[in-house]
């Protein structure tokens, strides 16, 4: 192995581990395991292959694929060339991939066999860059030497994570090597990660939670065990995964844990023997459920982390016995990783918008100007509790979390408004937690609104699965505020919440 340049790039974490513990397991997926040395060699092969297709420093590379060691190796290959990777989960339909590609303008779009089939079946737009499969790409690089590493600077962009955009266009959150490394170093120290750890990777790679799973593992020389995309609908299989694969560190949205508790029997078998750390982030964890988890797992450290994709994790809170009597919301804690948090335009009760500034905050949105000085305005409302811990109180705007996924109703409305049977539409979230549902109120062009199946089909053609509407109702018009916007509180008041169905 060649000695990489001195500059601190995110991709050095894997290479450093490959040099110091080449035979240690790096990635597990199902029955397969890849050692650090194997993963490092794959990254070198993909670097040669990407270079052969013309990818150079600064180029974006889009990867639309299910989780795999190849995907991870490809992202590391891109970084070694100084390129910028952007991962997209299979939940994205081809048309959304093409829409994202139109703004990212990738030098290459890499996919797996399933992605290639889905794109072919739906008619991949001729204007979009062609797709290349992992196999085809590797063939391009066969027998070529890996190119020298590009000397990246800490402020260079490393990856772009696409998230729902309120105007209808997905937004590409662009993070630098320094942004990510600062977060990873803090997170590794906070959780005490070591080479003996086995981290579960539950989140899709386009969710920032995966950054900790992958790079935290590489930093510690630990192993990351990829939860297959296929298991997302099987709570009891997820529980089996946690126990049987001897996971020591679990990180997911609360929705996943709630589902495992309610339908997978998570709390019935006591604490998973190997588990020592459980982290949740991305949405509020109902206090009662978090405390049940604490009671069932007395030896497991529980962390509530906070931060939109734009900031990485910027605040954190570890639950202690002091929480056992808590009745209010779980705090999101204090700023971490050198970040500064301030509350802007606080009301009389101390509630204000959470503004984050510091080393983990993104460079900006891809294709737009860099984030101006003054920090990132999250749109989240917060307040300090008596102990000086930050509490999350909700949103300033309409962005919502639906079963752990970040959803802008505006992006769904933009898609639905292109349906010929729809004159006007508003999408609202009804219910909370696992019962949260996306509901469309439709003003039809004709006498009858399109049916639910027709709207689902229309959504599914352009949006990720978690943004497909769950129910629909018709209205003659939408209520408006004085300045002409949809009056969502009034609209919500007209809708009856879904009755809670019997638990299976």
């Amino acid at each position: 192995m060649r000695t990489p340049p001195e500059t601190a790039g995110l991709h050095h974490l894997l290479a450093d581990a490959a040099r110091s513990t080449p035979d240690a397991p790096a990635v597990h997926l199902g029955a397969e395991t890849w050692s650090y040395d194997e993963l490092d060699r794959m990254a070198e092969q993909y670097a040669a292959a990407l270079a052969a297709t013309g990818v150079t420093a600064g180029d974006p590379v889009l990867v639309w694929a299910a989780k795999s060691a190849d995907l991870i190796a490809l992202t590391q290959a891109a970084l070694r060339l100084g390129a910028v990777y952007s991962p997209l989960a299979p939940a994205n339909p081809p048309s959304r991939v093409a829409r994202i590609a139109a703004t990212l303008r990738p030098a290459s779009i890499v996919t797996d066999e399933a992605g290639a089939r889905a794109a072919a079946a739906s008619g991949w737009p001729a204007a979009a860059p062609p797709l290349v499969t992992f196999d085809a790409l590797r063939a391009r690089g066969a027998a070529r030497p890996a190119p020298p590493w590009h000397p990246v600077r800490p402020g260079d962009p490393a990856y772009v994570l696409y998230t729902s955009g309120s105007t209808g266009e997905p937004k590409g959150v662009c993070l630098s090597h320094h942004n990510a490394l600062t977060f990873v170093r803090w997170a590794v120290a906070e959780t005490g990660l070591c080479a003996a750890d086995r981290l579960a990777n539950h989140a899709p790679f386009n969710f920032d939670l995966s950054v900790f799973d992958l790079y935290g593992a590489f930093h510690a020389g630990a192993a990351v065990d990829l939860v297959p995309d296929d298991l997302a609908h099987a709570p009891s299989a997820l529980v089996d995964f946690l126990f049987e694969r001897k996971i020591t560190v679990w990180y997911s949205v609360p929705s996943a844990l709630l589902l495992m508790m309610r339908l997978g029997g998570l709390l019935d078998a006591g604490a998973p023997p190997a588990l020592r750390v459980c982290v949740f982030a991305g949405e509020p964890f109902p206090t009662g459920s978090a405390l049940r988890l604490r009671a069932a797992w007395p030896g497991v450290r529980l962390f509530n982390w906070y931060g939109p994709t734009e900031t990485n994790v910027c605040a954190g809170y570890e639950l202690t016995e002091a929480d056992d009597r808590r009745s209010g919301p779980l705090p999101i804690g204090k700023p971490v990783a050198g970040d500064l948090i301030r509350l802007d335009r606080t009301a009389a009760d101390g509630t204000g918008e959470i503004v984050v500034d510091g080393p983990t905050v993104m460079l900006g949105y891809w294709g737009q100007d860099r984030l101006p000085p003054g920090g990132y305005r999250t749109g989240d409302l917060g307040r300090y509790d008596a102990d000086g811990n930050l509490e999350y109180l909700g949103r300033k705007d309409t962005m919502a979390k639906v079963r752990g996924h970040r959803v802008e109703p505006g992006e769904i409305e933009a898609v639905l408004s292109t349906h010929p049977g729809i004159a006007d539409v508003a999408v609202v979230v009804i219910g909370t937690g696992l019962e949260a549902r996306l509901h469309a109120v439709v003003v039809p062009t004709g006498s009858e609104p399109p049916g639910l199946l027709a709207l689902k089909a229309h959504c599914a053609a352009s949006l990720p699965t978690y943004m497909v509407v769950d129910s629909v109702s018709a209205a003659d018009s939408l209520p408006r505020t004085a300045n002409g916007k949809t009056d969502r509180p009034r609209l919500l008041a007209t809708l009856t919440p879904p009755q809670q169905k019997e638990s299976p």
Partner: protein
């Protein structure tokens, strides 16, 4: 378990989805190949409820290892799964 043929399973599953997931609407448009996962008709909770229904009404127990996406794409795939489980337990 007696005479659990394909048509009978499909019919039971069809009636379940129409009643429980579609509120009895869109019956004409709903087919046995309608995507259940891609269109968000089945999420984790609804999948678990469907599996409970299958256990009670059809007497087939779906093990956790079979609760994977490829088996729940549409009613035809679910029926394939249930028939294979019935055959292996017979």
């Amino acid at each position: 378990m007696t005479d659990l043929d394909r048509a009978k399973i499909l019919s039971k599953l069809h009636d379940y989805v129409v009643a429980e997931l579609l509120d009895g609407k869109d019956v004409e448009q709903f087919e046995t190949t309608t995507p259940l996962l891609d269109w968000g008709l089945l999420n984790s909770i609804e999948t678990a409820r469907l599996v409970a229904f299958v256990r009670q009404e059809l007497g087939v127990r779906v093990p956790p290892t079979d609760m994977v996406k490829r088996n729940f794409q549409n009613l035809e795939r679910i029926t394939d799964l249930l028939l294979s489980l019935r055959d292996s337990s017979a």
